[in-house]
């Protein structure tokens, strides 16, 4: 949709974005400061807090684990979440109305309690491997974005278009991929971004689900911060921003989703 914008709206939105971005300059400044503590404006310029991350082996290995968990967990959440979102909107009358709210539960239950319960009931009682439970736990944690954010996009989708395609002989699954999905791609991308970031940043659930030999990047950063108060944490934030841009570019290229640019 594109209509002319009222100047007041444009100004307000610019202000909002200015405020969103302003602290990022402070963090960027702090991340290159040649001091052993966080400071702004930076004193001297160095990249050693960035190279530091790559030199510490625990950061490297946990970054890989975190990436795997975030990508697989998000993919799993979308894989089961999108059909659920579709069913909730397409067959609204045939599914109970409370079902949609069930998918909010993973972010409604305090994360510490969720992690604690998962460790107690799933990892220990069922004896499942740490990595699997960590992955499932993250998929669960980001499921609300997959179901509800995609669902919000589907709510404004006109299902009569889909019915027309099917009545013209297009198979339902093909119709979904060629007619429905392109129309909700912005919602899918938004859900992907939110889910990926939530998983990458998660501490509280991971605290309990990591185990011997398996840890995640945010937990490793917390560990580092117990003893070191240097700008490494700022440079990690900056690197995560760069990484996210990269991941979004890859998603755009491989899945061919028109990245918010319709």
């Amino acid at each position: 949709m594109r209509t002319s914008l009222h100047p007041a709206l444009t100004i307000t939105a610019s202000l909002i974005f200015a405020i969103l971005v302003a602290p990022l300059f402070i963090i960027l400044g702090a991340s290159v400061s040649d001091t052993s503590y966080l400071t702004f404006p930076p004193q001297g310029i160095t990249l050693r807090w960035f190279t530091n991350i790559f030199e510490i082996s625990a950061f490297r290995t946990t970054a890989i684990t975190s990436l795997q968990i975030a990508l697989l967990g998000t993919a799993l959440a979308l894989l089961i979440g999108i059909p659920a979102a579709y069913a909730l909107n397409r067959f609204r009358i045939r599914l109970p109305s409370w079902l949609a709210n069930v998918f909010v539960l993973p972010i409604l239950v305090p994360e510490i309690v969720l992690g604690f319960s998962l460790l107690k009931s799933v990892t220990i009682s069922l004896g499942l491997p740490v990595f699997i439970v960590l992955l499932l736990g993250h998929a669960l944690l980001v499921l609300p974005y997959a179901v509800r954010v995609v669902g919000a996009s589907l709510a404004s989708f006109d299902f009569s278009i889909e019915e027309a395609a099917i009545s013209l002989g297009c198979p339902p699954l093909k119709t979904f991929f060629t007619v429905v999905l392109p129309n909700i791609s912005a919602g899918v991308i938004a859900a992907f971004i939110l889910a990926f970031i939530t998983s990458m940043n998660d501490v509280s659930v991971s605290l309990f689900l990591t185990g011997p030999g398996i840890s995640t990047l945010p937990i490793q950063i917390l560990a580092h911060m117990e003893q070191f108060f240097d700008p490494t944490i700022a440079s990690v934030s900056v690197l995560l921003m760069i990484l996210t841009v990269g991941v979004m570019a890859i998603v755009e290229a491989t899945l061919g989703l028109t990245f918010l640019t319709k």
């Binding site: 069930v102 998918f103 510490i112 499921l143 919000a152 921003m241 918010l260």
Partner: protein, 275 residues
């Protein structure tokens, strides 16, 4: 037969994941709070008997609601403008909106110290302009906590809504304006109803997110602005009192569900068309 089951087959795997990994395990944890030796309600009575804890609960509700309202309004305006932008610019704006979510809570609160602290940028500016004679303390107040949370949740709102506003067909709006509807009427009668599902989802995500938040209120509010998440954390991770922690969690879950249901009802009454 198959057709009747289709909705359940589609929603099944996701429902099963929530049932097996959340409802059952967390349910077991929360049920354990009723096994108290002093009677099933004892931990809850103990909670509500403390004026301090009631204050914390009330403050948490208040801060979360205010955060939600502000985030919804600001997020809607920003997302609306983003939706009107040409392709490249739109991508850049979305990425800019996501970036705050990628900053760790400690660095983020460091940035707030630099901006709003005693010797921060804002205080220095006000001092040099002669508007104040002594630095004002802007941190460790309810306002500071709300500001920091809004900062964190507006991006979530923008992303949720951008997917929804994107889906509103251009011709609907054009038809409305060409029929002579005033801009506000177009907003009230066309855009708002169509955006309502997104607003509800966004508001629910923001509210639940702020209700359970823990690190941000602790860093920017300190003990003066303690929220439920901190109480829970102290019980669970410091005194290892999981019954106490689960009691706090159960209260949080019940209150959040109640408020989310009320919010959804209200939104539906405002707009019967929306989900």
């Amino acid at each position: 037969m198959v057709k009747r089951l289709t909705p359940w087959i589609l929603a099944g795997p996701a429902s099963l994941l929530v049932l097996l990994l959340l409802i059952l395990p967390v349910g077991a944890t929360l049920l354990a709070t009723f096994a108290d030796a002093k009677g099933w309600a004892a931990p809850y009575l103990a909670f509500f008997n403390s004026g301090f804890r009631r204050t914390v609960l009330w403050r948490t509700v208040e801060i979360s609601l205010i955060t939600t309202v502000i985030s919804v309004i600001l997020g809607f305006i920003a997302a609306y403008v983003v939706a009107q932008m040409p392709g490249r610019l739109k991508s850049i704006m979305i990425i800019a909106a996501v970036f705050p979510l990628l900053t760790g809570v400690v660095v983020r609160s460091f940035a707030w110290l630099i901006l709003l602290g005693k010797n921060g940028i804002l205080n220095s500016a006000l001092l040099s302009l002669g508007l104040i004679t002594e630095p004002i303390s802007m941190l460790y107040t309810e306002g500071a906590v709300i500001a920091a949370m809004v900062y964190l949740f507006v991006p979530l709102m923008i992303l949720t809504l951008s997917g929804v506003l994107e889906g509103i067909p251009k011709d609907v709006l054009e038809a409305a304006s060409s029929l002579g509807a005033a801009p506000f009427a177009v907003f009230r009668q066309v855009i708002l109803p169509l955006a309502m599902p997104g607003l509800i989802v966004g508001a629910v995500l923001v509210f639940t997110g702020s209700f359970t938040s823990y690190a941000t209120p602790q860093l920017l509010g300190g003990e003066r602005q303690m929220m439920m998440g901190t109480l829970l954390y102290q019980r669970a991770m410091v005194t290892f009192d999981w019954t106490g922690a689960s009691t706090v969690a159960a209260i949080m879950v019940v209150v959040t569900i109640a408020i989310v249901l009320v919010m959804t009802r209200l939104a539906r009454r405002l707009n019967p068309m929306a989900a």
